[in-house]
């Protein structure tokens, strides 16, 4: 589990996050929502230790995150960023194999190769395994990175809790793949205890898939908890300044509509 205590972050005299405290549990999909400039990306970067908090502390499994060696952290924590820009031609399977880099020393083991094949099949990029990554479309490239980060934190039968942090990763994906990806994550969580935290823009995606939602606004924590309790008309209006209607479909699933 991940626990953040009173974390703040400021840069160049500008305060981006004002002392917020919250915790994320394993076996739940947590999503961070909020309007532009709310501090969503800052929070994800702090949680992944791409940046360090100005004050406060973050604990992974009851251990201060700063005590982890980078290489140690990389074995249990994967991050998927918004866009990954590559310059050099590499094949799809080479990119996916990078997810296994923290796990092997010099040459990939058979296990590493098997895991990559499996994740490539998961995200349906196995047929383009030999293709040049740079020739793929934006959505295809993103699926390659999904396969990569999934390979990085692939279940390994240990008791450690793995962490997956997603910084608006669904942006370029078709709806089919957005749903597919989140469904695959749920499958993975059955195999190993995992903390999954993602920033999303599409509030309905949060509504459909999130177990917990974190609502940020202007660097403050507005609400944090079960999806239905956080995504209320009042909270959404407070953060986004527009009041949504909440609709129900024939299956009883709820939707936000603006």
């Amino acid at each position: 589990m991940i626990k953040a205590e009173n974390i703040s972050y400021s840069i160049k005299g500008k305060n981006l996050l004002h002392g917020i405290s919250l915790s994320f549990n394993p076996d739940e999909i947590s999503m961070i929502i909020g309007p532009n400039g709310a501090g969503k990306s800052t929070l994800i970067k702090l949680l992944s230790q791409q940046i360090s908090c100005t004050s406060g502390n973050i604990q992974y499994n009851n251990r201060d995150m700063k005590l982890f060696a980078k290489s140690e952290l990389a074995k249990v924590r994967a991050v998927l960023s918004q866009n990954t820009h590559m310059v050099f031609p590499l094949s799809v399977e080479e990119v996916v194999m990078m997810g296994r880099y923290p796990h092997f020393h010099d040459k990939p083991t058979r296990l590493d190769k098997e895991i990559c094949e499996q994740t490539m099949a998961f995200f349906k990029v196995d047929e383009m395994a030999k293709r040049n990554y740079l020739t793929l479309s934006g959505g295809e490239q993103q699926r390659v990175h999904f396969a990569r980060v999934t390979a990085q934190i692939w279940p390994d039968n240990t008791k450690s809790t793995k962490v997956l942090l997603l910084d608006e990763p669904l942006t370029y994906l078709d709806i089919y793949y957005q749903h597919e990806f989140l469904t695959i994550l749920k499958q993975l969580m059955q195999l190993q205890s995992m903390v999954i935290i993602g920033v999303v823009h599409d509030l309905n995606l949060a509504y459909k898939f999130a177990d917990k939602v974190t609502l940020l606004s202007k660097g403050n924590l507005l609400a944090h908890g079960n999806t239905e309790l956080v995504c209320t008309k009042e909270n959404i209006k407070k953060a986004f300044l527009i009041e949504p209607s909440i609709l129900k479909n024939e299956k009883g699933e709820r939707f936000l509509c603006f």
Binding site: S71, V87, Y101, Q152
Partner: protein
């Protein structure tokens, strides 16, 4: 084509080019003379005839030095392109070559005045120090300019500025130099392999082998860096320390090679490009491939440099550029290469 067959093919071509470069020159040396010279060298180093001595003391060390320097420059190119995530970077771009050339120019013009003398090592040492000085100026300026974060862009821009500074330093030195000194500066700036001897072969060779081994050690991390600094960090790589280590390896490779041969351009740029077009960008493959292809390219260039105006000899830097530039442009235009 598998990686192994690429290496084997290139190794074979390297062998052919090496034999040709030994055979042709002001005097032709036959294969039988080579084998008898090697025989005598092992059993009884006396009684060598003129051709055998030319083979053992001039052609052979020169051919071998050519191979090693070619490999060094090409591997340096791979390391720098990988580090800067930029396919147009070569070792010269961050000041290494111009710094080395400045060190050499300083030795040519002011060597006698400065009273620094280490015998035949004076020039290589001066060049090496110059190369290191320039590279580390670039690195530390770009470090301090971006608050402990080595931003690639600032490193590159400061590299350009420092390069210009050292080049104008060389310009100044050749302006105040007397005529023969100025000529040595010019000649050295264009690169030459004519000074090759067994000393230089050993020094450049040992440096090259150890740097290639180090480079291979960092290959996996350099691969991860292709995802960008952020993603590489997420894969557990400490970017700053990787940059320092790779920079150090590159400075060593390039300034030691440059110290003995002068500035030879384009090898470090063209070779990694061609290899990428052949079979992708895996750093391990690029480094090993560069060892062979760099050696091959420089060998061919050296044969041309000696044959084109025979019996006079062209500076090899001119040949590598004249050969390298059109190949480079052709490859960029012809093949699908995405930037």
């Amino acid at each position: 084509m598998t990686n192994k067959s690429i290496y084997l093919t290139m190794a074979l071509l390297v062998l052919i080019a090496t034999i040709l470069s030994i055979v042709y020159g002001a005097v032709e040396i036959s294969i039988s003379e080579m084998s008898s010279a090697l025989n005598k060298w092992i059993n009884n180093p006396e009684n060598l005839n003129l051709n055998e001595r030319i083979f053992l003391e001039i052609r052979l060390p020169r051919a071998i030095l050519t191979l090693i320097v070619g490999s060094s420059l090409a591997v340096g190119g791979v390391l720098m392109q990988g580090l800067f995530l930029n396919p147009i970077v070569e070792p010269g771009l961050i000041g290494t070559s111009s710094g080395a050339a400045f060190g050499a120019a300083l030795y040519f013009t002011l060597g006698a005045v400065l009273d620094f003398n280490a015998g035949e090592w004076t020039l290589p040492i001066a060049a090496c120090l110059g190369g290191m000085l320039a590279t580390f100026i670039v690195f530390f300026l770009s470090e301090s300019s971006s608050r402990n974060k080595t931003s690639t862009i600032s490193l590159l821009l400061i590299g350009i500025a420092v390069n210009a500074l050292f080049l104008s330093g060389i310009g100044f030195l050749s302006y105040i130099a007397r005529d023969p000194q100025a000529r040595s500066i010019t000649f050295w700036n264009l690169g030459t392999l004519s000074g090759a001897n067994w000393h230089s072969v050993v020094i450049v060779g040992l440096t090259c082998v150890s740097c290639v081994l180090l480079g291979l050690k960092y290959a996996k991390q350099l691969n991860a860096l292709m995802l960008g600094e952020l993603e590489a960090g997420n894969l557990g790589i400490s970017i700053r320390s990787l940059k320092l280590k790779v920079l150090f390896v590159n400075v060593l490779l390039v300034s030691v090679a440059t110290a003995f041969t002068g500035v030879i351009g384009f090898v470090g740029l063209v070779v990694p490009h061609v290899l990428r077009l052949l079979k992708g960008s895996d750093t391990r493959y690029l480094i090993l491939g560069s060892v062979f292809m760099g050696a091959l390219l420089l060998s061919i260039a050296d044969i041309l440099a000696r044959l084109l105006l025979a019996p006079a000899e062209l500076p090899i830097g001119i040949v590598t550029t004249v050969v390298g530039a059109p190949i480079f442009i052709y490859l960029l235009r012809k093949n699908e290469y995405y930037f």
